[in-house]
Symmetry: C3
């Protein structure tokens, strides 16, 4: 491909990856865990501190355990997306905030960074690995 | 159009829609209500709970009523944009947070989701409908 | 260039600028000040209220002074990006929030707007000027 064609293909991929990461938040916060897990590759990995879920069955169990009850849920917000596509794979670094709502309005609960690897499978970008690194008290 | 050309046209539209939604926040928070209302189609609809504004005169009155005084204003922040262009229309789902500032720093006031329909009119993307769904205490 | 080719070039530039602004936040929050300052042009300008840093040596001193200790740092989050490329320059308006973490979770500290000018130098977009305007109590 010419350089301009390569750059344009990267743009298309970058926006597609942005949308996948947006849907991750929407589906998680809606409690749509089947839809959430479908955003991962079948062998997808999710790590959170010392916990790891590997494959869709473990991912489903993880999200149902941590976000299953409405009072566990809130809003996951993703920012500062730096997506780097490379053929049929992509890496993304972004920041996130998780808030819950309360009788007094929304309350910040967590902030951290997502380190993601994505893979194009049958023309669809899916999350192959997400590592969550929470911001710690210095 | 070829598939690649279609995908590229969709990229251009997706970024243009992202900019419209960014300007919505900027103009609202700046109190530029004429500019804000200009981002809507002439028959634009905005719903917020059980309130509906229909057309630019009602939109202007709505925003002046809810955001008219400086102490009513703050920052509208938009995240997790999932924009799906389809010819001269587009749908977008995103999350939002509204914060106000205080003597003690910024304070979260609201969080919710925007469900948007946009339309291309004379080459410009405009908001044809925005439904605001606030996050509720579970 | 044809109109479609121009629009596509603008898309590529817009996404490249978005990535630069994302990396600004990542590097600042990671305390990678050499990497942060490298995102600016050699004559880059940064203003924050009545303080101005001009050129990489002053930029480095500014960031080391305000973000040098881990307890000064947190997360810079950027939203509502409205990037307008124009040849080898671009303007961007965006909103930002800065939060720090505490034993009780993340705490909002600042919110404001970034007014940026970027320049393409040797094929790389760099920040030529960033003016930070904080949200004030009305």
């Amino acid at each position: 491909m010419s350089e301009i064609a390569e750059n344009m293909a990267a743009c298309i991929d970058e926006l597609a990856v942005q949308s996948v990461l947006a849907r991750y938040c929407h589906r998680c916060d809606d409690g749509d865990f089947a839809g959430l897990v479908d955003l991962f590759t079948p062998d997808g990995v999710f790590t959170y501190g010392d916990r790891t879920a590997h494959g869709r069955a473990e991912l489903l169990a993880f999200f149902q355990g941590t976000q299953g009850r409405p009072d566990q849920r809130g809003k996951h917000l993703t920012f500062n997306l730096d997506v780097r596509p490379d053929g049929d794979t992509a890496r993304s670094v972004s920041d996130y905030v998780f808030l819950r709502t309360s009788a007094h309005g929304p309350v910040l609960r967590l902030a951290g960074r997502y380190h993601d690897e994505l893979r194009r499978v049958d023309g669809q970008w899916r999350i192959a690995r997400r590592d969550v690194i929470n911001l710690e008290v210095p």
